[in-house]
């Protein structure tokens, strides 16, 4: 990987880490509420996947702050959203779990486990029909692969040879239930094997993820149909701020945290450059927080705006 690319990758990972730490702090201070799912430990995967797929459409889950950052959505507008402010990327209506920004080809932020997977299939169908240059990526957890609609999506995407990357973030847990309790095996790629080629990667190694996603992107560009990536990863925190993480032993947590994706990249960088990047990321997050604290709340009069599109879309349709 080129030096500049590596620096961008590293910078965005640290930005993600700092962002999540700030979100955690402000959740505890009561500035952020609802469910807050932190991506700490999984930043390498989130960032590398987005950067290797810079021009495609992305559909993802509620654990999406770092992916949104890596997509180029500003830390300010994401932090504002977490604070429920009018200036947030979803106008304060969506919150942490529902970041949407079509201008960055980022379509949520969906909190119905598995529910966004068929949406990505549909979008991939549109891209194929339009003979577009880019394809689609759908990101989901190991737990989501137990929903029926996941298999329906594998089947549909493969049958129609759609340009779609299925990216499974296998952190082995769905809230407090280990995948081994509810599934006869723990490698999720096995589930996709009958339908499409599969790739497996160490999700704690951002460079490896970058390479794997690049390979997958090349594959879908050729029109051969979808591909499945399983990235093995590990979250450092509880499922959300409401989960005390009691089901994982201290030993298990040690093994998990020893694989910190940021520490893995750090030695590849010049130490002064590394220190500067970290400082810059902290600065960017501090500014985002400062901005969010002062940003305006949405007006009460806007409560029912956007249930339907404004400006008479019904007329436009007829």
């Amino acid at each position: 990987m080129e030096k500049l690319q590596l620096e961008t990758l590293y910078y965005t990972m640290v930005l993600g880490r700092q962002f999540e730490l700030a979100a955690k702090e402000h959740y505890m201070q009561g500035h952020i509420s609802g469910f807050l799912h932190l991506d700490i430990g999984q930043e390498g995967l989130s960032v590398a996947a987005m950067q290797a797929f810079a021009h495609g459409d992305v559909f993802t889950t509620y654990r999406e702050h770092v992916m949104a950052l890596a997509r180029g959505i500003s830390a300010k507008s994401i932090m504002d959203e977490l604070f429920g402010k009018a200036t947030g990327v979803s106008g304060g209506r969506g919150g942490s779990m529902h970041l949407f920004d079509p201008s960055h080809f980022f379509y949520g932020g969906d909190a119905i486990v598995g529910g966004h997977i068929p949406n990505a299939v549909g979008c991939a169908y549109a891209r194929k029909l339009q003979k577009a240059d880019n394809g689609v990526m759908v990101v989901f957890g190991d737990g989501a692969t137990n929903q029926g609609v996941f298999y329906e999506s594998l089947n549909n995407a493969a049958a129609q040879k759609l340009p779609l990357i299925f990216l499974c973030e296998n952190n082995e847990y769905a809230i407090g239930t280990h995948i081994g309790r509810v599934c006869p095996f723990t490698e999720m790629a096995k589930k996709a094997e009958p339908f499409m080629p599969t790739l497996s990667v160490d999700g704690m190694d951002a460079v490896a993820v970058y390479e794997t996603v690049t390979e997958a992107n090349d594959f879908i560009q050729k029109g051969h149909g979808p591909i499945f990536i399983e990235a093995h990863t590990c979250r450092f925190e509880g499922h959300s701020m409401s989960d005390a993480n009691r089901y994982r032993s201290p030993q298990e947590m040690d093994i998990c945290k020893d694989q910190d994706p940021i520490e893995k990249i750090k030695p590849l960088l010049d130490s002064q450059v590394e220190a500067n990047l970290t400082e810059k990321a902290k600065q960017e997050v501090a500014e985002a927080v400062e901005f969010a604290l002062k940003a305006p709340e949405p007006e009460l009069s806007t409560l029912t705006d956007h249930i339907f599109c404004q400006g008479g879309c019904h007329h436009a349709l007829s």
Binding site: S33, G34, F35, G84, K85, S90, G92, R93, G94, G95, M97, H98, D110, A111, I112, V113, G114, G143, A144, N146, Q147, G148, A174, I175, G176, T177, R181, V182, C183, Y247, E297, P298, L300, T302, L303, T304, I307
Partner: protein, 325 residues
């Protein structure tokens, strides 16, 4: 005892008394339940009766139907009403219809329980209430519980019944404290008169009962009236006797609910009252409900989208003044 502990006690007693009672759902076993309702059941009754399922709501209810056909008495937990939508095919096409389609040869002693409603800033995909849809399905009994007492007795009764029951809880009630008298005679099909009164009948269920009770002193003071507060408990069937007796006395009906107003559950109560109590009524009924909007994340907007004690009091006071009180 806390509401969630009352549910847990009901589970415990039902599972001790009858080996065919099993429970299944996401995180119900080893983890102890996402709202701790099934805490320690896994340790007490084992993984074969307290079943951790994959995230597959359609299968959870679908499997419960098969378990019941096979002779078990399953209690299925769905994490929230929002995810129960994924199981609506099994709930409506299978669970609610098999007994009828089989000419009564198939009995389905199943409880499907879940919480619903607005908690705090969980946004649109985690805040809905779907009692109105389920109460509209022939073949389903729909019970709610607004107190630990109702939770304990309601769930126990639901498990004993040989028919499919939808048992609805509220996100914000799990830590509510209250007396549980296990020996009391409590009929979950009977509406409870939470507070007797003479001039206005306030009907609600689940968490809105608490909000109505908070609003009552202000209403009574401002209007110089006394309010009768009724907790429906059972949404289908409806205890119309209790409603009719109350309306004959007060002549005024206010329905308070958290779901969206259009097609909301309260429309059923008001329509029943206009059909059957028309001559008892001295004023047009008032419905207080959630707005017809997905629930927003921002706290100010969120609270503006559902009834609160304050908005309940204000709307009733204004309505009372316009209607001769």
């Amino acid at each position: 005892m806390l509401y969630r502990e009352a549910l847990n006690l009901a589970y415990h007693e039902a599972m001790t008394a009858d080996e065919s009672v099993v429970t299944l759902g996401e995180d119900v076993g080893f983890y102890g339940g996402s709202y701790r309702v099934t805490e320690k059941l896994y340790e007490q009754f084992g993984a074969h009766r307290v079943i951790d399922t994959p995230i597959s709501e359609q299968s959870i209810v679908g499997n419960a139907v098969g378990m019941a056909i096979g002779g078990l008495r399953p209690v299925a937990e769905i994490m929230t009403a929002n995810f129960a939508l994924l199981a609506f095919d099994q709930i409506i096409n299978h669970m609610a219809k098999l007994p009828y389609m089989s000419n009564g040869k198939v009995q389905l002693p199943i409880v499907v329980r879940f919480p619903q409603g607005v908690s705090k800033q969980l946004a649109a995909q985690h805040s809905e209430s779907y009692e109105q849809m389920l109460a509209a399905v022939p073949g389903l009994i729909v019970l709610t519980a607004s107190t630990p007492q109702a939770a304990y007795h309601g769930l126990k009764k639901a498990i004993e019944l040989d028919d499919p029951v939808i048992f609805i809880e509220h996100e914000l009630l799990y830590n509510k404290k209250g007396e549980v008298d296990t020996q009391a005679r409590f009929d979950p099909f009977k509406a409870q008169i939470v507070k007797p009164g003479n001039n206005i009948t306030l009907v609600s269920y689940l968490k809105m009962v608490d909000d109505v009770m908070t609003a009552v002193p202000e209403i009574e003071q401002q209007l110089g009236v006394s309010c009768e507060v009724i907790d429906l408990n059972s949404l289908n069937p409806i205890d119309t006797d209790t409603l009719k007796t109350s309306l004959s006395k007060t002549g005024r009906l206010v329905m308070v609910e958290e779901d969206h107003k259009t097609g909301g559950y309260g429309a059923q109560i008001v329509s029943w009252a206009s059909e059957h109590c028309f001559y008892e009524l001295d004023a047009p009924p008032l419905r207080i409900a959630g707005l017809d909007t997905p629930i927003p994340y921002n706290r100010t907007l969120e609270l503006a989208s559902i009834p609160t004690p304050d908005s309940i009091a204000q709307q009733i006071i204004q309505w009372g003044k316009q209607n001769g009180l």
